[in-house]
């Protein structure tokens, strides 16, 4: 597959190269993290086991095109990880959470689970065999770039699982706009590639969860809101029943973090996420897509901090809680409980940013935070 290369690719590559020099060393047999979290399942609210594997990392991100402008997960990868290492990591994670009840397993490996260069075929299969043996697990979520979503790769895994177990592949579409995905994000694939992958997955009875990025760099907050809404609609229309909205958080060794340090990037506002979620549900109803949607969730990293999605210091905590609550309940009205005086400043900043294309206006938020 030919990968479209974005305009910032050379600089992203440079930044990543520098960041990788100081990459922290992880033991080959140790998983990076694992925990149990409350999760919106297809059948309601339940628990999910999250496992983050120490893997060789995303090949697109580590390649000569530099990877995505906001992604710093390559910092949590290691060279020379074997299939045996990965299996050992996963079994240890299971042991660490032994005795706990969960209905979903989510495996993250800072890249594509289906890419055999990252997770060798044997490791994929052994890990899935382990999962198939865990009682009560109904949902398995892995992540992959669309080019690795092939019928054979999926079939190999689904045949291992129990018939009632559902596999969901998370694909980071980020935006349905090719212009934004290629240039603002440097994602390296087209919307058409995503559509093809979704069709392949659905044919294999595999579900697709679409990750959408809220506020790629070089977009105004207003543009970012509009893009996230439109992208979700497009992804749903393509057949993805789960949508996860990911507000950008500042990760080290990325173009976004370099811009952030220069004062030219601000993570999105909770107000913007609220707008996206509420408008999106309205659009879904208007376009009669309600039956095509299972869940629209958002689990922001670094929520309420300067590096993650945030409003002002007065309402960050409440906002984080409400977003979590919304994701579990799937009731957009929950977000109406958010009230704060920063709302009118947010509106004003959006207006000014749109009219000036000045990405440094968060400079003026300090004054309100000092009052």
């Amino acid at each position: 597959m030919e990968r479209p290369v974005g305009m910032f690719s050379p600089q992203i590559y440079q930044i990543r190269k520098t960041a990788l020099i100081s990459r922290k060393a992880f033991a080959a047999d140790k998983f990076i993290a694992s925990w149990i979290e409350k999760e919106r399942l297809l059948t309601g609210i339940g628990n999910a086991l999250v496992v983050i594997l120490n893997s060789p990392g995303c090949q697109w991100g580590l390649g000569s095109e530099g990877g995505c402008s906001m992604c710093g997960y390559s910092n949590e990868t290691s060279e020379g990880i074997t299939a045996e290492n990965l299996v050992a990591q996963f079994t240890q994670a299971l042991q660490a959470n032994a005795g706990k009840k969960f209905q979903s397993v989510k495996i993250f490996n800072a890249g594509s689970f289906l890419d055999e260069k990252e997770i060798p075929r044997t490791a994929q299969e052994v890990i899935f065999r382990h999962i198939s043996e865990i009682p009560f697990v109904q949902e398995i979520v892995i992540e992959s770039r669309p080019e690795f979503v092939t019928a054979s790769a999926l079939k190999r895994l689904t045949t291992i699982l129990q018939p009632e177990q559902i596999l969901e592949v998370g694909i980071g579409l980020e935006s349905s706009s090719d212009q934004i995905r290629i240039h603002n994000i440097n994602k390296g694939f087209l919307f058409a590639d995503f559509q093809k992958a979704v069709a392949i997955a659905l044919a294999q009875k595999v579900r697709v969860k679409t990750y959408l990025l809220l506020k790629p760099p070089f977009l105004t907050e207003k543009e970012a809101i509009a893009d996230a809404i439109q992208s979700a609609i497009d992804a749903i229309k393509a057949g993805s029943r789960s949508i996860s909205i990911n507000p950008v958080n500042i990760q080290t060794g990325t173009l976004v973090s370099v811009l952030w340090k220069a004062g030219l990037y601000r993570s999105p506002w909770f107000w913007s996420l609220k707008t996206v979620i509420q408008t999106l549900w309205k659009r879904i109803a208007e376009e009669n897509l309600t039956a095509s949607v299972d869940r629209i969730v958002s689990d922001p990293s670094g929520a309420g901090t300067q590096k993650g999605i945030h409003n002002c210091r007065l309402c960050n905590r409440t906002a984080s809680k409400l977003v979590k609550e919304y994701s579990l309940q799937q009731d957009p009205a929950i977000l109406n409980e958010l009230h704060c005086s920063c709302h009118s400043l947010w509106k004003e900043l959006l207006e000014q940013e749109e009219a000036t294309r000045d990405f440094s206006l968060h400079f003026f938020e300090r004054s309100i935070n000092q009052n």
Binding site: Q11, S341, E348, E351, A355, T356, D358, N371
Partner: protein, 648 residues
């Protein structure tokens, strides 16, 4: 587009601009229209008439709205730090092609490009070349706010733009900035400010005052009595704010912001924005920027600062010591003043509060002593006045701006900085006479005396002190001065003294360069002055010139102009055979002496170096050449017949 530069003060411009029959004055405001959602644009202008500007395109897609506005964005050049230089330059080529394409529809005088801060010389060079090549007159700046924390970078960016772009290119700062930095940024060369700060402050609950912003919730009484504040009690404003409703606060804040811009315009009209900037030292950005401007951008500032003004200068802060007018004066004294070879005695006097010094009580006493000496011996004496922050003022230049115009808090306390400036200036002036080794008589006491002693040490000479231990005006001190002077000149032969000639020659040298006085005035002249009137120059019974008493400037006449033209000094060259009208437009000037500063007297020449007339510069010499519109100089006198005026 008609661009009329009315007044200039450093990089600050007071200008009238006419675009599509609408006339605006700059500096001015940019305000977002708050009509319907998704139908907003900018309005340029803050007093009645406005021009519309569309919203800027994305720097990645460059897509512009097809909304018809008077001024139209043609591009948003992706150039900010920390993007790779090679990438920016590469991308600029594509954007330039796009600009060229869009200019087929949008006339250059209506075209606006958006820039982002970057101080890389290669990038600035390439970007400004594109702007000048396509004759774009409107330049926007965005992403500026982080630079409020790095004044050095902010200055570097704006002043480089001001250096690389013609003066008649208008700079629009789209990034909102607090009103307190409007004066300094205008002084740096920004022509229009986004009033968006008003709305951001309002929504943040800030109540603007001339000096800054106060949290409204903490106010217990009204500070302002503008029409909004007069009608609404403070509690109503606070209540409205809590209910998320600006109700009036925005209007009050807008009045404060507007006032700042209008005060800047007033200060520019007075040709002295500098004083207003010094009165607006409300934040560290302004203070830091002013310091850096004076130290790193001196030449640029001086070249665009008027040489001759009649307004007072108040030295209120140590920053005042380095005003361009002060530095320029000190420089001219060092470079263009000479102690004549026959001066055997230099007398140093302390300054006086009253200006010019000769009008003060103390100096009248000093002058009485000098005048009481035999007439044929007075020529041996050079008087110097020691002061802060100008340093040393030769008696001949005491009328000159800013020597006769400054005021400084008189406490008798000199800071180390002031002392250093004065000593440095005194030593360099005295060094001019090192060949003739004059006797230096310091008729000073207290701090002045310490200064003289420091200069003495530096020069490795000995001064004679005639007022040590008493007031220089004390009877005993004056008697001592007279006795010392008489003793020192007793053995010298009589020397003819034409005080008035020395005066005009020294003044001419100061104005046009060392040695020019002799060329302009080869023969003796006499001066006549009545109190508070201009000084007239006479040659015999003929009036041959005038010196403005309020600025101290010698006005050029055609005969003086002919002599000056021969020296190739303070000239500007025009295409054409004769002068039409009383204004010289920059578009016609193809060469000019780079020494020219606004308000300097100039000679106007044609291509064949023939004198067409004399006038007064409105711009610096280099700006006259680079600008393509606006007034370069005012004509004072035209030459009647060219043949007579050939200067060779």
């Amino acid at each position: 587009m008609l661009f009329d530069l009315l007044d200039i003060s450093a990089n600050g411009k007071y200008a009238k601009v006419v675009i599509n029959d609408t006339s605006l004055v700059f500096p001015t405001l940019l305000t977002l229209t708050s009509t319907k959602e998704n139908d907003i644009n900018w309005l340029l202008g803050d007093s009645g008439k406005t021009l519309s500007i569309n919203l800027p395109p994305s720097s990645l897609t460059q897509e512009v709205s097809n909304k018809k506005t008077t001024i139209q964005f043609v591009a948003n050049i992706l150039m900010h730090e920390p993007l790779q230089v090679s990438f920016v330059l590469n991308n600029l080529q594509k954007t330039t092609a796009l600009i060229a394409d869009r200019l087929k529809i949008v006339p250059p005088e209506n075209a606006l490009v958006m820039l982002q801060p970057n101080i890389n010389p290669e990038i600035l060079d390439a970007v400004t070349k594109t702007i000048t090549k396509y004759k774009i007159r409107h330049v926007g700046i965005t992403n500026f706010t982080p630079l409020l924390n790095t004044p050095r970078k902010a200055l570097e960016f704006i002043l480089r733009l001001r250096q690389l772009l013609p003066l008649d290119t208008l700079l629009y700062l789209f990034s909102p900035v607090p009103h307190t930095v409007v004066p300094i940024l205008s002084y740096c060369g920004v022509d229009a400010f986004n009033s968006g700060y008003v709305w951001l402050a309002t929504k943040s609950g800030l109540y603007l005052t001339a000096a800054g912003a106060l949290p409204l919730t903490q106010l217990s009484e009204k500070i302002c009595s503008c029409k909004i504040c007069a009608d609404l009690p403070i509690s109503d404003l606070q209540k409205a704010l809590l209910e998320n409703n600006a109700a009036g606060l925005d209007e009050h804040n807008m009045l404060i912001y507007q006032a700042k811009v209008r005060e800047v315009r007033y200060a520019l009209k007075q040709k002295d924005l500098r004083s207003y900037v010094e009165q607006n030292l409300f934040d560290t950005f302004t203070a830091t920027a002013l310091r850096l401007l004076d130290s790193s951008w001196t030449d640029m500032l001086i070249s665009r600062t008027a040489t001759w003004l009649s307004t007072p200068i108040y030295h209120l802060t140590p920053l005042s010591y380095y005003r361009p007018a002060v530095q320029a004066f000190q420089r001219r004294v060092r470079e263009r003043f000479d102690i004549l070879p026959y001066k055997k005695i230099v007398v140093i006097f302390p300054c006086s509060a009253r200006k010019p010094y000769s009008f003060s009580k103390s100096h009248r006493k000093f002058l009485e002593v000098i005048n009481s000496l035999p007439k044929d011996k007075q020529a041996y004496i050079q008087q110097l006045i020691l002061t802060s922050p100008l340093g040393v003022i030769p008696r001949e230049l005491e009328l000159v701006y800013p020597a006769a115009h400054y005021d400084i808090p008189v406490t008798g306390l000199w800071s180390e900085e002031e002392k250093a400036i004065a000593v440095q200036q005194l030593t360099s002036v005295l060094l001019k006479a090192r060949k003739q080794k004059p006797i230096v008589i310091a008729h000073v006491s207290d701090e002045y005396l310490t200064l003289c002693q420091e200069a003495e040490q530096k020069l490795k000479t000995t001064f004679v002190y005639t007022a040590a231990g008493s007031k220089p005006t004390a009877f005993q001190a004056l008697a001592n001065l007279k006795k010392t002077l008489l003793a020192k000149i007793a053995d010298s032969p009589p020397h003819q003294y034409n005080k008035d000639l020395e005066f005009v020659r020294a003044l001419s040298d100061y104005q046009f360069g060392l040695g020019i006085g002799e060329k302009l005035f080869p023969e003796p002249v006499t001066l006549k002055q009545k109190p508070n009137q201009n000084i007239f120059l006479f040659k015999g019974k003929n009036r041959i010139g005038v010196i403005h008493h309020r600025t101290g400037q010698l006005m050029l006449t055609v005969p003086m102009g002919m002599a000056l033209a021969k020296q190739k000094k303070y000239y500007l060259k025009l295409h054409g055979e004769e002068l039409k009208g009383s204004t010289i437009f920059a578009v016609g000037v193809f060469e000019a002496d780079p020494e020219i500063r606004p308000s300097d007297g100039v000679v106007i020449l044609n291509e064949k170096d023939e004198l067409l007339g004399v006038g007064v510069a409105s711009l610096s010499g280099s700006d006259m050449v680079s600008m393509s519109s606006g007034r370069a100089a005012k004509v004072k006198t035209k030459v009647k017949s060219l043949t007579k005026a050939h200067s060779g």
